[in-house]
Symmetry: C2
Subunit: 204 residues, 2 copies
């Protein structure tokens, strides 16, 4: 699907390495506990290169949560799609694929960090927005000719607009009795997600 030249691969690897390093440092030391120099040292790049990819550490930290490592599964899934599925069904399955345990866990960590330091919030929103764009492209492509673009845009917008509230809601529920952070529990989020799609299907 993607051209993915060697250059593309390495560019993506650089961006991911920087984002991962920033995210790890944010978890370990808090948003104010490190500087860009620490990030590039951990990732093995120069400060100048960091500036070529991200405008600040907040952006890098946020991007770490949307790094997508399941492109192959999504591709296979797209190929196996039924012709008669509605955009709503497609979108539902896509979110199940995209928002896997690791993603959810990272997003929650991001939200926790942003509670302590609201500077982070706009960058989280941007990161989520990039997820939305990706989903929009997939849905648009899959339902082309069967549904107008306006329909899918509104639908995808509604769903991704609800991600943050969904996360927030499931956090409030989970956080008190939350077990180990390294084994994220997604069941409650899934429940909220199902509820959300029920509303979307049957109307609020």
């Amino acid at each position: 699907m993607n051209k993915q030249s060697l250059r593309d691969i390495k560019r993506e690897a650089t961006a991911n390495a920087l984002a991962d390093a920033a995210f790890a440092l944010a978890l370990a030391k808090g948003l104010d506990g490190f500087v860009v120099e620490d990030v590039v040292q951990r990732a093995g790049y120069s400060r100048r290169t960091f500036a070529n990819y991200y405008s600040c550490k907040e952006e890098a930290v946020s991007m770490a949560a949307v790094i997508f490592n399941g492109a192959d599964e999504v591709e296979a899934w797209i190929g196996s799609l039924n012709e008669d599925m509605t955009p709503l069904d497609i979108l539902y399955q896509l979110m199940k694929l995209q928002l896997t345990g690791e993603h959810l866990w990272k997003l929650r960590q991001l939200l926790t960090l942003s509670k302590q330091n609201p500077t982070l919030e706009p960058y989280i929103l941007s990161a989520l927005r990039s997820l939305q764009i990706t989903a929009q492209d997939v849905i648009s492509d899959l339902s082309r000719g069967r549904y107008p673009d306006g329909y899918t845009h509104l639908l995808v917008g509604a769903v991704y607009g609800a991600v943050l509230p969904l996360l927030d809601g499931s956090m409030n529920v989970l956080l008190p009795g939350e077990s180990a952070p390294e084994a994220p529990e997604a069941v409650t989020f899934d429940h909220y997600l199902d509820t959300m799609f029920d509303y979307l299907r049957k109307g609020f």
Copy 2:
């Protein structure tokens, strides 16, 4: 000691990755069982970049055997040297440090490969020569003012000129009853090395 900028580090990493990949392929498939394209694919670089570092796969394979990963130990050892050691003693200890098990094993694999394909031999010689240059620099620096350069040059030349015969000799001895290649046995080589230095000390 070395400036070792980030650029230097990455340049060395590239050269090493390419050499390691070439060496691994040579072991797995033989010198004629792979092409440069295979090397760069395994290492994650382009064919053009390979050409920036090595003129052919034989050169890369040979360089893999002299990649030195014990610079720190050597540095520490240099700092702890006695002022009254002779160049011969220094050189003896340096070879013990340089020619560790992994190096010996790689060099032997190289020799085995070169028996099947003599194309490799000049590149092995070049690789050994680079080891010799390094040793020459260390020895010259350590004995500066106490011994003339001519003396150390002749000495180092004599020793490194004997490395290939030493390897050959110890191979002949070891190969029949050689155990697992992944646990190289260096004791017999060490014995040969000691004999060599005995000759150098007391005269042939």
